[in-house]
Symmetry: C2
Subunit: 187 residues, 2 copies
């Protein structure tokens, strides 16, 4: 188990990674360097820029979650498993995989790790002998119950400056993308 021990100055450096953000004449944020580099391509860049921004945002959120989780000896993925089990009770590994949008093989690994840490155990699935269910141990339940609210508060910091409508619109547009992606994946 490694320790997250970067000092504050190093954290500051990391926060420089990614797009150079500026505000346009309508007050909306855009990526300055992106436009400098890609405008000469003479293509419709609006979709490309928006998708790139989303990917940067996703990475930033992921990094923050990993950092936050590391304080509790948990990765984002493992946190996701714990929280899902906390809300749903026992779940087949395949269902966890679907819920968390990752492969069953990866869930196997995450559950292996959580099992090793004594936070989750595998139990047979009475409904389907091919299947295995993940179940929180009492230590696991205690762990997630002790931290999920703090995790939520941590996320509220990220949406500073956004209105309720902004959040609804962000959610809608992201889910539209998910649906479009599903169509593409199904082709």
């Amino acid at each position: 188990m490694h320790k997250f021990n970067m000092n504050t100055d190093e954290l500051k450096d990391l926060s420089k990674a990614g797009p150079e953000v500026a505000r346009d004449e309508t007050g909306l944020l855009y990526m300055k360097r992106f436009r400098d580099l890609f405008d000469p391509l003479k293509m419709d860049l609006a979709p490309i820029e928006a998708l790139a921004a989303l990917r940067y945002a996703g990475k930033a959120i992921h990094l923050l979650q990993e950092r936050w989780g590391a304080k509790h000896d948990l990765s984002e993925g493992r946190l996701g498993v714990l929280f899902r089990l906390f809300r749903c009770g026992d779940l087949p590994l395949g269902e966890l995989a679907d819920d968390l949008a990752m492969t069953p093989r990866n869930i196997t690994g995450l559950v292996d790790h959580l099992e090793r840490d004594g936070l989750v155990e595998r139990v047979p699935d009475a409904d389907d002998r091919r299947s295995v269910r993940a179940r929180l141990t009492s230590a696991g339940r205690e762990r997630i119950e002790g931290i999920w609210k703090e995790g939520f508060d941590h996320q509220y910091e990220l949406v500073k400056g956004m209105t309720k409508d902004d959040l609804a619109q962000l959610r809608h547009l992201c889910l539209l993308l998910v649906e479009n992606a599903r169509k593409e994946l199904g082709k």
Copy 2:
């Protein structure tokens, strides 16, 4: 080198992973299962749901890019490196890391791989002897020149149903998140 050979039915199955999307009374998409599970927590779920939706969207885009890239024997990350070098010319590895929002150590790995494939070479940085620059080989240039437009077209499919304003708003909100995340990372 493995071959991506999943058949169409398996692709369809994969497209089920992730949130169950429904449309609310205002016509906006939301995650039905999410609300069923988390409403009982009696917390402000709007930020949590929006951020979760963004993470799902980011994953979906990543998956699609990986699938698309696999047809050209390239991962999303390696594509990012190639495209950046194509637009910018030679770049120090550290600058690539900043631009692509990942660690220098990971760029080292991606460039190793691209170098092995003959698409990129390392050249000394005349301005700083600690630094190494990545440069497209002629094969690398030929590769990216042959595919980047198709990659753009591939992305246009993802934004079907979005207006120009939608894209601008999505971009803005994502970049606001990036900036908020930077503040949190700098704490």
